[in-house]
Amino acid sequence: MLRLEARPHPSTAALLLAPLLAVLLTLLAGALLFALLGFAPAAALKAFFITPVNSLYGLGELAMKATPLLLCAIGLAVGFRANIWNIGAEGQLLMGAIAGSGVALFLRPADGAPWVLPAMFLAGALGGMAWAAVPAFLKLRFNASEILTSLMLTYVARLFLRWLVGGPWRDPDGYNFPQSPMFAPDAVIPPLLHGTRLGFGALLALAVTLGGWFLLSRTFLGFQIRVIGLTSAAAGYAGFDRGRVTWLSLLLSGALAGIAGLNEVAGPIGQLTPFVSPGYGFTAIIVAFLGRLHPIGILFASLLVALSYLGGESAQISLGLPLAATDVFQGMLLFFLLASEVLVRYRPRLARTRG
């Protein structure tokens, strides 16, 4: 049976190879899955991974899909590093979208104003933060698991959004569709590049990535986050404040998720609908792990996972492959990554073992 020996030093080669190995294995397993579903593997993989990005428009779409993933994943990674398991980014994203939409729909003066869009971003961040503050408070005050509370709040946020767009915020001229009126032009993010739908949010996400990297690897706060996550008792010994880091990581990830949500409604969608997110907040968990909780790794991971979204759509159109194949792909990717991760810390040996 397989036996694992701890390496005295984590292997740097394995550190870089693990995600690549995971991608390779996912492609193999994906090909197998396609074959099982009755599609030619090569054509399906091409439709999934090549077709979507063979044009400038396609690359713009890729960056656009990557933006919310990147924003959410950077925030989540900071928390995960500290063993704070916010898995409710989806709900925080929706609340950010709702808060920002509120500004666009109700606070914007009738003839518009230059502050509208910035105010929407601010409201988005605050909305996500507020939603993430609840699990932080419940964890610190009552010791309640943030995993479960943040997730439960996601369901609540979804229902709240559904009520808003189906009731008080519904577009009176929208043929009874559950969606808000379209935002005014000055409440919508203009495209950065002609010929794409890519907006300012992508640049913001890049800046956030750099900021995340700086926080984690250069600041004393980042050091404290890492110590808390690795060895809680050592953090207590050193006098690092767990409560402060819990607040910080949840509020930060809430704010970033909220901005991601706002960036969707004020960007490509242009109104508040129940379909703000195809599960970006959950997929961001995969992105965070795939990037090994390192902001630069997460940048690459977000592009890869964004590609799987586009690929899913492309394969659905050209081959009739169910859209859920995307989720399966993403799930497999995470599994293979977690499995390859073992090589970083352990050296596999074939030997007799017990227990």
Binding site: T219, F220, L221, F223, R226, A234, G236, G239, R354
Partner: protein, 516 residues
């Protein structure tokens, strides 16, 4: 019992076992006769634990032979060992806190039978050997000595013909040790063999008929302990002569009081914790105060109250350098001049996965300009780590090595060095040399004595009475969450301290203030 008492109960020849980067056992031979109490002697890391795990079937030897009652055997698992008649009492007890005594014992038996019958058998064995136990009590409510009784009774119910005791006395008071020895002698008289693992020479001389000495994975000799001096055995064990820590001239009297505890008590959410009651103590600059006690009598709670990991009900209960500090966290207390060496090195005193440079930053962030305006200056952290490595002779490849790659002794030298080089006014150290090899222990003792010489106040919490008598000016004893008054070390004896460790306190006097 085998008919012929001249056939060894267990004979090992040429046992070898390697781990990555370390040859733990190298051609080890050991012969155990029926009815003998045989000592296995060696330093930490000499390979005793590995050998014992091989005998008990927890590990498999890479090569070598074992013979049981003259017949060759291979022991594939602890269950197989128990079937042969081998029982083991572990150093770190293999007990389950939330389960009852009887359930714990049932888990150690292969055929425990129905619970009611088992409870009767436990009572019978307890009575026969004078090992009082209540089968229904949950283990977390037992003292350390009682826990050891659970382990011993569990072994005895398996009717072992070879009983392995791994460092059994490290957690007992001297009086409890006497009780244990009586039980072991009774067992040997019944024809059972006892393999007694220890590095405490006096005990081995008092108890054992033969001793096998290990060093660096090999057997380096054997002797009759009663006929050998402790010094000769120590030299066999260590390989060279030992440097004995030297005290400088006595420090000048009437220095400032650096640490004061006033009626300190604790409350806890944790049902397994001991609560402190009315603890009072003072430590002056330049003196070393030792706190003795059996583990689990409130030392952990006292230490976390002192470090600031647990806050005290009232700020004035803990005064550091004249400042009420009971309400302060570890960070604020460090800025008052506190340095702290926790008992748990890997996982509290150091982050295993992080480099030594990062681990230097862990507690050293307040000094040496390692942090400025919220940013870490990693160059300074690396230089600080290198200074610690050099000053304290830490054997490592350098500041980039992760903490978990260091041996116990080297890591402890690093942690103590890291604290000392911050020039503390007050250093609190828990078990400073527990599990550390003798060479490193001597170095650490010398560093602590030198630090006191330089005017730092030291508080040492230890279970090792020899250590406390080597280092301390005054000694106090913890028992059941209470702290005795301190006694100057030249006015007391190991026996007196031992009695107090068992809970027999003299009437409380205010010697804290009168003695120095």
């Amino acid at each position: 019992m085998p008919p012929d008492a001249s056939v060894p109960r267990l004979a090992l020849t040429g046992i070898s076992k390697s781990f990555p980067g370390c040859r733990a056992n190298d051609g080890v031979g050991l012969t155990l006769m029926p009815g003998e109490i045989h000592a296995l002697l060696g330093e930490n890391g000499a390979g005793k634990s590995t050998l014992v795990k091989i005998i008990y079937g927890v590990l498999q030897a890479d090569s070598g032979q074992m013979a049981w009652d003259g017949r060759p055997v291979s022991i594939a698992s602890p269950a197989a060992a128990r079937r042969l008649g081998i029982g083991m009492v572990f150093q770190h007890f293999s007990l389950f806190d939330s389960l009852s005594v009887a359930e714990n014992i049932a888990l150690g038996l292969d055929r425990p039978g129905p619970m009611k019958a088992l409870v009767r058998r436990i009572a019978a064995v307890s009575a026969r050997y004078g090992l009082a136990l209540d089968p229904d009590r949950p283990v977390h409510s037992l003292s350390v000595g009682e826990r050891q009784r659970v382990e011993i009774v569990r072994c005895l119910l398996g009717e072992p013909r070879l009983l392995i005791m791994d460092e059994p006395t490290s957690v007992l008071t001297p009086q409890e040790v006497d009780g244990l020895f009586a039980v072991l002698r009774q067992l040997a008289a019944e024809g059972r063999t006892i393999l007694y693992i220890s590095h405490k020479l006096d005990e081995i001389r008092a108890l054992c008929g033969r001793a096998t000495v290990m060093r660096a994975g090999r057997v380096v000799g054997s002797c009759d302990p009663a006929a050998t001096t402790s010094r000769a055995m120590a030299e066999m064990m260590i390989g060279t002569g030992l440097a004995v820590p030297r005290r400088g001239p006595q420090s000048a009297p009437a220095r400032d009081t650096v640490l004061e505890l006033h009626h300190l008590f604790t409350t806890s959410d944790d049902p397994f914790a001991v609560t402190l009651a009315d603890v009072a103590l003072s430590v002056r600059a330049g003196e070393i105060v030792g706190i003795a006690g059996v583990a689990g009598n409130g030392q952990a709670e006292l230490l976390s109250a002192l470090s600031g990991e647990a806050r005290s009900p009232d700020p004035g209960m803990i005064v550091i350098g004249g400042v009420a500090a009971g309400h302060l966290g570890p960070r604020a207390r460090r800025s008052l001049g506190l340095a702290f060496v926790p008992e748990e090195r890997l996982g509290r005193g150091a982050v295993p996965e992080m480099s030594l440079a990062d681990n230097a930053l862990l507690s050293g962030y307040g000094s040496g300009g390692m942090v400025r305006r919220g940013l870490v200056r990693f160059g300074r952290a690396r230089r600080y780590a290198e200074r610690v490595i050099q000053h304290f002779g830490v054997a490592t490849r350098g500041h980039a090595t992760p903490a978990r790659a260091l041996s116990g002794g080297n890591l402890q030298k690093f942690i103590i060095g890291r604290e000392i080089l911050q020039n503390p006014r007050l250093l609190i150290a828990a078990q400073p040399t527990w599990g550390v090899d003798a060479g490193a222990a001597a170095q650490i003792h010398q560093a602590l004595l030198d630090l006191a010489q330089g005017g730092t106040a030291l508080l040492i919490v230890s279970q090792d009475l020899d250590e406390l008598f080597t280092l301390s000016d005054r000694i106090a004893v913890m028992h059941g969450g209470r702290l005795s008054a301190t006694t100057p070390v030249d006015q007391t004896t190991v026996e007196q301290i031992g009695l107090r460790m068992g809970g027999i306190f003299e009437e409380r006097t205010e010697t804290d203030h009168a003695s120095s």
